[in-house]
Every structure is written in C-alpha cells, then in structure tokens.
Symmetry: C2
Subunit: 376 residues, 2 copies
C-alpha cells in the first residue's frame, strides 16, 4: 500500500473515526483505524462494538486531486498516536505499508514508522441482507433525530428505552424516544410504499450519525437488514446494530383532552426556566413551579433553602380551558423539550394533576412531547 | 446597599473573581465574593488563602456611566450561584442588600433573592507596611513572568521552588524559577534605586496576575511589604503572600563554557520536538534524542517499542566548538523552554556529558534557561 494525500483533509477524516473508535475494548484492534487503498479510492474504517463507519476518499473531489495511489493494500493503525502525529505534520504526506505491521508516514525530512496491525485481523462487517430501503434528505433526518434522541433513557435498566424507535409505515417515518418520565415523538413524510417496518436504533449510533459532516442538500439512504441498520451517503456508510426487544406502546400515553392550554414565546420560556434552574440545584429533580396569574401571566418560581429564590413573570399569548395552573416540573426536562421546538410560539397543555403535560409547536402537529409533573 | 449596573460588564468582573475564589476552604465565606458600594465606586473582592484580588468599578469608565449608586453598604455572596445567575440575566440589573444576609437581584420582571453573608465576617486584609515600590509596564511584566513561571517545581517537597524568586537590585528586576531539572532566569531594566530586596512569590499568584485584563499601556505598581507583595493597576489590586525560606543560589549553576554551540530556527525546532514527543509517551521523561550530522543538520529521534519511531532532520544556521552532539533530553521540558524564546533563532550550548544545556535567544543576553540531560 502506498499513497500520497493532503494531510489537512486526511486528518479531518481520521479525527472523525478516532472519536468513535473503542478506547476500552477487549480487542485492541478496535482502537485502530483500518486504511485500505484500492485502485480508485482510499477507504478508512473505524468503530466500536455497536457502530462502524466507513469513509471513502475518492481520487478527486470537485475536480481537484486529493489522493495519488501508487500501490493498493491495507493496514490497521492505532488511532490515538496516529491522529496525534498527523496533527503535527505538514500538509503533504505519503503513507505506505508492507501490509503486515509497519506504517511508514513521510513528510519532507520527517520519517516516521508506526506499529500497525495486519488488516486481515480487523473485524469483518457482517453480510448484510437488505430488507427495506428509504432515501431522504440528510439535513431533515438530522433535525428529526435531534428532536427525539435526547429523550431516551440514560439507564440501561430497560435496554429498549436507550434507543429510538423508528417506524417506517406508509409514506411516514415515526421516531419515538422515552425514558418513562418524558416522551418525544416526531412524524416525517417520506416516500415509502413497502411493508411496514419498525426497529429500535441505539441512541449512541444516532448521535454518531449527527456528527457526520455532509452538505445540506446531501441525501441519505437508510437500509434495514435483519439485525442491522445502514445509513449511507455518497462517501460514508454508518453500520449500527439494532436493539432487540419489544418497545412499549406509547401512542396510548398521549392525552387527547386538556384542562388548561397556554401558548407563549418559546425562547423567553427557555430563558426563564434556565434561570430558575440555577436555584433548583439542591433538588433531585430541578423543581420549577408554574402558576397562572390573572389569565395573562405565567409565574415561574424556584425556592431553595440553601441558595435563595427566583420568581419571574412571563406574558402568555393565549389561554384555553380552565385558567388555573399550579404544578411543578423538572426544569431540566422541560428545557430539553423546549429546545426541540423550532417555532416562535409553543403550546403547553396541562391535563390535570399528576397527568403529563403535552408540549407542541403552536401550529405543527407532527411533533409532540410529554413530561410528567413532579409530586411536591 | 443598592446600585444598578450593566450586567455584561459586571459578569466579566465577577467571573474573574469567581475563578480565584476558594472552592474547598474550611471557611465557606472564602468561596464568596465581597461586594462593597461606596460613595463613588463598587469594590468587589475575592480570593483564597494565598491571593486576594480587589476590583474597583468606578461610576464612569471612558466618560460612560457604568454604575448608579443609590445606597452604600456591603455584603458577601456565594460566587458559584451568583455567577451562574448573572450569566442568565438581561443587561440592566439592580443589586441591593439589607447588609446582613439577603442579596436582591432584580432585572425587569425577574426578582431573585440570594442568601448572602454579612460582610463583617469576610477576612480582613492584613495591614500592609510598604517597604519598597516599583512601577513598570504591565505588559512587559507579564512577558517576564511568562518566560520564567513555567519552570517552578510542581512538587511541594521544597516549597521555595514552587515560587518565582524576584530580586530587585539597582535598576534591575531579576526573576528566577527552577525545579532542579531546569531553570529559567530573566533580567529586566527597571527604575529602582533603593535598597536591594528579594522575595519568593507563589507561582499561583503570578498565574492569577497573568489573567488580569488591562490595556497594553497600563502601568503596574509592585509594592513589597513585610510578608506580602502587592500588585496594583488603576482599578485592580492583587495581594499575594510570600514564600518564606532560602532560595538556592542559582547563579553559580549557569555554565560559562560550552563544548558545542548551535544556532537554529526556534519555531521549526519546537514543531520537530513536538512531533517527536508523540512517540515518547511511554517514556517517563519524554526522551528525545539529538544528534549532529555533518556540521549542518540536527537529527531529532524518538523510538518507542510500543508506538514506533520518528526521525527528522533540521538545518542548523551555525555551529561553534566541537561538532559532535549525542544527547537525550526531556522533550516536554525542552518545548517549555523554547516557547519562552521570542527571537527567530535560538542558541543552544551543550556543555558536556551530564551537564545542563543552556538555551538562549540568539542575540538577547538577559534571558537564559538550563535543562539537564537524561541518562540513557
């Protein structure tokens, strides 16, 4: 194997793969990056036990030569030292290998030899038997993932809840995440006419997907295989395992009735709850209290014996139903939910004592979130 | 106490003081910031057991009104929650206090009450009896401190070595730091005609001094008292304790003879040693080896059984003395030393096996550094 490449460009890709490579794996080779030079591209692979990313560097990008390949072949390098070195080398570098154990990296008068591992020892990706394939805009998919993924469970007690449920039904992708205290659900229009399919994707894999850099107009193809989900863009393929198990039926949890419904400015409410959280540090759940005053003002209050208290009033645009609110929520969960709302105005429906509140953008109906109140 | 202030400006100053306030002190009040409103300024004080900083906010800065004082008084607030809150408040804020325990912070419809502590309980600064005073340019002083402070000992085994020795002798300030493996010494011309004076200032206090923001032309006054050193600029006073004890005589350590002396580009050498250090991670001392080749080239080599090896060649501008170098140094210490060199070319004098190397800027004679070689 032997090729030359612009280091600035190469370092960026190796960094991306370094971030997902295992640092604490029983298989030391998993902390490495596989470099494979073929006739017309260099392919880099990195991953951990749940997700693998394959990055293809073509000979040319936008008509400009990026790599020059002199000899095909492959090798695995330990990513940590490799990236540390690359960051400190000038722009023109030559990478070569005898294919077994040594990687030679040259740049002008700088000669380095890094210990490598033979590429044959790198784990093989499983044979993938594609069941369904959907193509959509990558930026839109990223938005959808951001709007739900934060709500997954951080505890491994119920593994299915650590993933996002992705349902492909007729012309619709429905993503749902819940940790049983809160829920986030988003429907997106897609072109899909095949048999319904539903999978649970680990949140870690989706967070890696969010990190991938692609232009705004790029499309992404989602393929569902027997035990894998594969996301592919022009030069990148992300393989992720699926979580097995039964996801709870969440549709029935969403209240259809409300007692009090208010609409108000999203950003002001975020700022207000964020301030209130400064005073809720000593509570286990960041208790923030909401009270409705005279139909027009929401009072946000937090009290802490140790720190002090904050109280602020925010104007409400609209109130429907019974004009009484007197409830406590976890301020941090409320903030997470509000950050998913892209509209200027947010609608919050309070559905009665100890029932979850429903948070939605004022006009969009495809996005809904639930938060359970706190007992005080 | 009651005053109004632009929050953006106030937050910046409170942040500076928050950083030095004790977080783990037996006296909880030391994790607080004292706020004192006088007739014509607000003075904020924060500190820890070694250093105190007093910041004066005058009514006007550059002709623009900054604060409006309605009532004098003082109080202490716990800095962590205070700064967290300030960062989240709009720009116009009003701070008031009953002087005993509560601090009221208002901004529009936001009302907060933070628990405070009566200012009488805040530690008093000792009565300072000034022995000597020197005035110099603040930016120059910062440069001098940066050039020596990194060489102090990180171990508390010999407390005097954790400080920088500052000697005020006739029209000269000499700063020295050493951890017994390396030494850095810088002389600066000052206007000083009084009795010689020498103090050891804790490196932590000098690092705080480097953080102070002042304009490039600002002057700083250094006052030495019986057991304190006081640095004062127009609106800031930093009080630091001194380290008691006898500083070793370091002047005699600086070799006057050399075996081989080379001059070369400072930045290239920094980049080369930095690269070599990637491969020296598994060594206790970042072993980097220097060899002279044919009088014109310095070869920098590092070998590691686990990672690999790097070898690079750098052109030397000038060689004096015996044209043989074959020595190993701690690459990290060498990098620290070179980073203090502001000239394009650096001169390194090798003084024989197991004797320290002397590193100097090519032309400036007031700055000298020593590094002991490693046994290999």
């Amino acid at each position: 194997m032997k090729f030359t490449i612009k280091n600035s460009f190469f370092t960026e890709i190796v960094s991306e793969l370094y971030k997902i490579s295992s640092t604490k794996s029983l298989l030391p080779i998993l902390s490495g990056i596989k470099i494979e030079a073929t006739k017309d591209s260099v392919v880099l692979t990195g991953g951990n036990s749940e997700v693998f990313i394959e990055k293809k560097i073509p000979r040319q990008i936008n008509g400009e030569a990026v790599i020059e390949i002199y000899e095909t072949g492959s090798v695995v390098v330990l990513s940590k030292h490799f990236i540390n070195l690359l960051k400190k080398l000038p722009d023109d570098i030559e990478i070569s290998s005898d294919g077994i154990q040594l990687v030679l990296i040259k740049s002008g008068d700088i000669v380095t030899k890094m210990n490598g591992i033979a590429a044959v020892d790198y784990p093989k990706l499983p044979e993938v038997k594609i069941l369904q394939t959907v193509t959509l805009n990558f930026t839109s998919l990223k938005e959808v993932i951001k709007q739900v993924v934060f709500a997954v469970s951080k505890s491994e007690a119920k593994p299915v809840l650590t993933g996002v449920k992705m349902e492909f039904v007729k012309n619709k992708l429905i993503c749902t995440a819940t940790d049983s205290h809160r829920l986030s659900r988003k429907e997106t229009q897609i072109t899909f006419n095949e048999r319904d399919h539903s999978v649970i994707v680990p949140s870690k894999s989706l967070l890696e997907l969010l990190q991938l850099k692609e232009s705004g107009s790029a499309t992404i193809q989602i393929s569902i295989a027997n035990n894998l989900i594969v996301f592919s863009t022009e030069n990148t393929i992300l393989y992720s395992v699926l979580i097995e198990g039964n996801y709870p039926n969440t549709q029935s949890l969403i209240p259809t009735d409300f007692v009090t419904k208010i609409t108000m400015n999203t950003q002001s409410l975020i700022a207000g709850i964020d301030r209130a959280c400064v005073f809720s540090e000593e509570w286990k759940h960041n208790n923030v209290h909401f009270t409705l005053i005279e139909n027009t003002v929401l009072k946000i209050t937090t009290k802490s014996a140790g720190i002090g208290m904050i109280e602020e009033q925010q104007r409400i645009s609209k109130v429907d139903g019974v004009p009484v609110i007197d409830m406590t929520f976890d301020g941090r969960l409320f903030l997470d939910a509000l950050k998913g709302i892209q509209e200027e105005q947010v609608t919050i429906s309070f559905c009665g004592v100890m029932k979850p509140a429903v948070i939605r953008p004022e006009t969009e109906t495809s996005y809904v979130q639930l938060i359970s109140p706190l007992r005080t």
